[in-house]
C-alpha cells in the first residue's frame, strides 16, 4: 500500500485562538523546515524481522467491537497481515420466525434487528408489505414516516458518533451526542409510547398519529440540534488527534466499494453518489430538498465527514416535513388491512366480520413478491417478501447493510496497525443485531 499524503488543516478547537481569531494550528507531523503540516497514512507491511506471526483474538466480548463481533487477526509485529471476522453469535432466526407470523406480527421483530434504526425498520417493513398488498399510504402517513425515518437516522448517527469517539479516545462528544439522542427518544416516546422498540407502523398506516403539540417539540429540536452538531464539529473535525487517527485508514476506491456491495455512508465516502432516497426513491423523497454528501478519499475521516453532513441534511428534511404535514387520515381506507373503529366493530355486522377476519386470520396479500429498499443509516436496507396468498409470508428476507459492509473489513484493515483496526471497524457502523439477525 502506497503512503498517502493528504494535507488537512489541523487545529485544536479547545485551546486558544491565534491573533486572527482562528484556532491555533498544531502540527502533527512537522517538516524539517517547520512549514508543511501533513498527516501520513501508516506505512505498509514492515519487513519481516524473524517471520513469526502472532494471532490475536478480539471479541466477541470486547467493547470496541460494538457487540458480539469476533475478529481473529494475524499480526506481523503490530501490522495486520490478515483479518478473519466471525459473526453469528447473536443469530436468532428472525427470517425463520417471520415465516410463522402474520405481516403485522413481524413488525416488532424489525425493531430488534437494527435496534438503532427501529422506527425506520418499521416503516421499511410496512412499505414492503404495502407493496405486496398494492396499497399506497395516505399523504399524512407518508410525511409522518419521513419524519420517523430521519429521526432514527439522527439517533443512529449520534450513537455511531459517540461510540466511535470513545473508541478513538475522545469522551466528551459521546456525552453531547447522547444528550441529543435523548431528546430524539423523548420525541419518539411522546409519539408512539416506546423509545427503543417502537413497533410504530402497521400495514397501511401507523399505530398512532402524533399527539397535539408534538410538532412544536420537533421544531424545537430542529432549531437546537444544529448547535450541537456545530459543537461536535468544532471539537473533532480539525482536531489533530482525531485527524491523525482517521485519515488514510481503510481506504476503499469507488470501484472496490461498489464491487464489495458497500452502501450508505460507506460507499458515499468513497466517492459514489448512490443514495436510495435519490436514485430509487420512496415516500416522496424526490420532493424534498436535500443534498447527498459525498467524500472523495474513502477513508475513515471521510466517512465521519459524510455522516456529520447527513445529520445536517436530516435536519433540513425534518424542517420541510414539519412544514408540509397535511391534515387527514393516517391509515388507508382499506378493510383488507386496517381494523375498523372499535365502535363500529361492536355495532355493525360488516365491520365485525372484518375485525374478526383481520384478527383471526390476518391480512392476506395476493400472490407475488417485492423487494423494497430504503436508505437506512447504515446503507441500503432491503426487505424481500414472497407471498403465496396466505396471511404469512413464504419468505421474509432482510438485506442487512451492516452485514455486507462488514464483509469488506478484511480488505480494509490489511496492512494497517492493530490500533487502527478499532477505528476502521468503528467507521463501518455495524449493529450486530442486524448482522446476525
Amino acid at each position: 500500500m502506497a503512503t498517502q499524503k493528504r494535507t488537512v488543516d489541523v487545529a485544536l478547537s479547545t485551546t486558544g485562538l491565534d491573533a486572527e481569531g482562528r484556532p491555533q494550528r498544531v502540527p502533527l507531523v512537522t517538516a524539517t523546515d517547520g512549514s508543511a503540516v501533513a498527516v501520513e497514512a501508516p506505512p505498509g507491511i514492515e519487513p519481516d524481522l524473524d517471520g513469526e506471526h502472532m494471532l490475536i483474538n478480539i471479541g466477541p466480548q470486547h467493547p470496541a467491537t460494538h457487540g458480539v463481533l469476533r475478529l481473529v487477526l494475524e499480526l506481523d509485529g503490530e501490522t495486520v497481515v490478515r483479518c478473519i471476522p466471525h459473526v453469528g453469535y447473536l443469530h436468532c432466526g428472525f427470517e425463520k420466525i417471520g415465516e410463522y407470523r402474520q405481516y403485522n406480527q413481524i413488525i416488532p421483530w424489525t425493531d430488534r434487528e437494527d435496534y438503532l434504526n427501529s422506527i425506520g425498520n418499521n416503516c421499511a417493513f410496512a412499505l414492503g408489505a404495502e407493496r405486496l398488498f398494492g396499497i399506497d399510504v395516505t399523504p399524512r402517513c407518508t410525511v409522518l414516516r419521513v419524519m420517523a425515518m430521519e429521526l432514527s437516522r439522527i439517533i443512529s448517527h449520534l450513537v455511531w458518533l459517540g461510540t466511535t469517539c470513545i473508541d478513538i479516545g475522545a469522551f466528551t462528544p459521546f456525552l453531547w451526542a447522547f444528550q441529543e439522542r435523548e431528546n430524539v427518544y423523548n420525541l419518539l416516546e411522546g409519539w408512539v409510547g416506546a423509545r427503543l422498540t417502537t413497533s410504530a407502523t402497521r400495514v397501511g398506516g401507523m399505530a398512532a398519529d402524533i399527539p397535539d403539540g408534538w410538532l412544536d417539540g420537533l421544531r424545537n429540536f430542529v432549531r437546537t440540534f444544529p448547535k450541537t452538531i456545530d459543537e461536535i464539529d468544532r471539537m473533532l473535525t480539525k482536531n489533530g488527534i482525531w485527524v491523525g487517527r482517521t485519515v488514510g485508514l481503510g481506504v476503499m476506491s469507488p470501484e472496490e466499494a461498489v464491487n464489495y456491495g458497500l452502501s450508505g455512508p460507506m460507499v458515499r465516502a468513497s466517492g459514489v453518489a448512490y443514495d436510495v432516497r435519490k436514485d430509487f426513491p420512496y415516500l416522496d423523497y424526490e420532493t424534498y430538498d436535500f443534498d447527498v454528501p459525498v467524500g472523495t478519499n474513502g477513508d475513515v475521516y471521510d466517512r465521519y465527514l459524510v455522516r456529520m453532513e447527513e445529520l445536517r441534511q436530516s435536519v433540513r428534511i425534518l424542517a420541510q416535513a414539519a412544514d408540509r404535514l397535511p391534515d387527514g387520515p393516517v391509515n388507508v381506507d382499506d378493510p383488507r388491512v386496517i381494523l375498523p373503529p372499535k365502535s363500529k366493530a361492536t355495532s355493525e355486522m360488516e365491520s365485525m366480520i372484518h375485525h374478526f377476519k383481520l384478527v383471526m386470520e390476518g391480512p392476506r396479500p395476493p400472490l407475488g413478491e417485492a423487494y423494497v429498499a430504503i436508505e437506512s443509516p447504515k446503507g441500503e436496507k432491503g426487505y424481500y417478501m414472497v407471498s403465496d396468498g396466505t396471511s404469512k409470508p413464504v419468505r421474509w428476507r432482510i438485506r442487512p447493510p451492516s452485514f455486507v459492509n462488514l464483509s469488506a473489513i478484511s480488505k480494509m484493515v490489511e496492512g494497517h496497525l492493530l490500533s487502527d483496526v478499532i477505528a476502521i471497524n468503528a467507521s463501518i457502523d455495524i449493529v450486530m443485531g442486524e448482522i446476525d439477525r
Partner: protein, 233 residues
C-alpha cells in the same frame, strides 16, 4: 488506490433525464419491463426460461447452469452495467414439490435499473449453482449465508462454510421448510451437545483458515497448534 477519487454519480448513463420518482398505483402483474430483460432474451434466448413483471419489478428466470454467464454479461456489457449486487438469497415454497429458487437482486447504478434474476433448482438433484464471487466480491458473505441457511452449494466460492451458525452445527439448514421452527433436536439434546462440545475446536488452525501462513510459523508454535492449543482467548 489513493484518493482523491473522481466522484461517480448514480444514473450517470441514464439518458432519459427523468428524475426518479416514488412508484404509485403499482399493478400486481404487468407494467413496463426492464429493458435488460429484452436484451437478455435476444442474447441468451435458450437460457431464459421466463420473464414476468410483479409489482413493477422484472423477474428473469434463467437456467441454473447459465446463471454465471448471464450475470457476468449483465455486469460487463456497457449497455447494462449491473455493477451492484444488492442481495443473494433463496426461496423455498411451502409446496415441497416446487423447486428452490436462488434469487439475485442486481442494481445497475449508472442506468438506475433494478433486476431480479432467479434460477430454479429441482429438489431431486443436489442443490448446486455457480458462484458469482468472481464478479462481485459482495457475494462472499451473501453466498455463505445462503449456503448456511439453505444448503445450496455455490460452486467456485473460495471459502464456502457456515457463517451465522457455528461450524459444528449438525441440525441441517434452518431456513428449509422441512426444518421445524424449534430445531430438529430437543432442548435436552441441544444442551447435551453444547456441554459436550470441545471449546478448543473453536480455535483450531483449520477453522481460522490461515493454512498458507501456517508453514511460515516457527516449528514450536506449529507443534503447539497441532496439539490443539488455543490460539486466542
Amino acid at each position: 488506490m489513493t484518493g482523491p477519487f473522481q466522484i461517480e454519480y448514480a444514473g450517470s448513463a441514464d439518458t432519459s433525464a427523468q428524475v426518479p420518482a416514488t412508484p404509485r398505483n403499482v399493478p400486481n402483474r404487468g407494467g413496463p419491463v426492464n429493458p435488460s430483460a429484452t436484451d437478455l432474451r435476444a442474447k441468451f434466448a435458450a437460457a431464459i426460461r421466463r420473464v414476468d413483471v410483479v409489482w413493477n419489478e422484472t423477474n428473469v428466470y434463467v437456467a441454473p447452469e447459465a446463471a454465471l454467464d448471464i450475470i457476468r454479461w449483465l455486469h460487463d456489457d456497457p449497455s447494462q452495467r449491473y455493477d451492484y449486487l444488492a442481495d443473494i438469497t433463496a426461496v423455498e415454497y411451502r409446496d415441497l414439490e416446487q423447486p428452490v429458487e436462488v434469487v439475485w437482486h442486481l442494481r445497475s447504478l449508472p442506468y438506475r435499473r433494478f433486476l431480479r434474476v432467479k434460477a430454479q433448482l429441482t429438489k431431486n438433484r443436489p442443490l448446486e449453482i455457480p458462484s458469482v464471487w468472481s464478479i462481485y466480491k459482495s457475494a462472499d458473505w451473501l453466498e455463505r449465508e445462503c449456503y448456511d441457511m439453505f444448503g445450496i452449494k455455490f460452486v467456485g466460492h473460495p471459502d464456502l462454510r457456515r457463517i451465522l451458525m457455528w461450524e459444528q452445527y449438525r441440525e441441517g439448514f434452518p431456513l428449509r421448510k422441512d426444518f421445524p421452527l424449534r430445531g430438529r433436536f430437543s432442548r435436552a439434546e441441544q444442551l447435551r451437545q453444547a456441554l459436550a462440545a470441545n471449546p478448543e475446536a473453536r480455535y483450531s488452525m483449520e477453522e481460522l483458515s490461515i493454512a498458507d501462513a501456517f508453514e511460515d510459523l516457527p516449528t514450536d508454535m506449529r507443534q503447539r497448534l497441532r496439539g490443539g492449543e488455543r490460539t486466542g482467548e
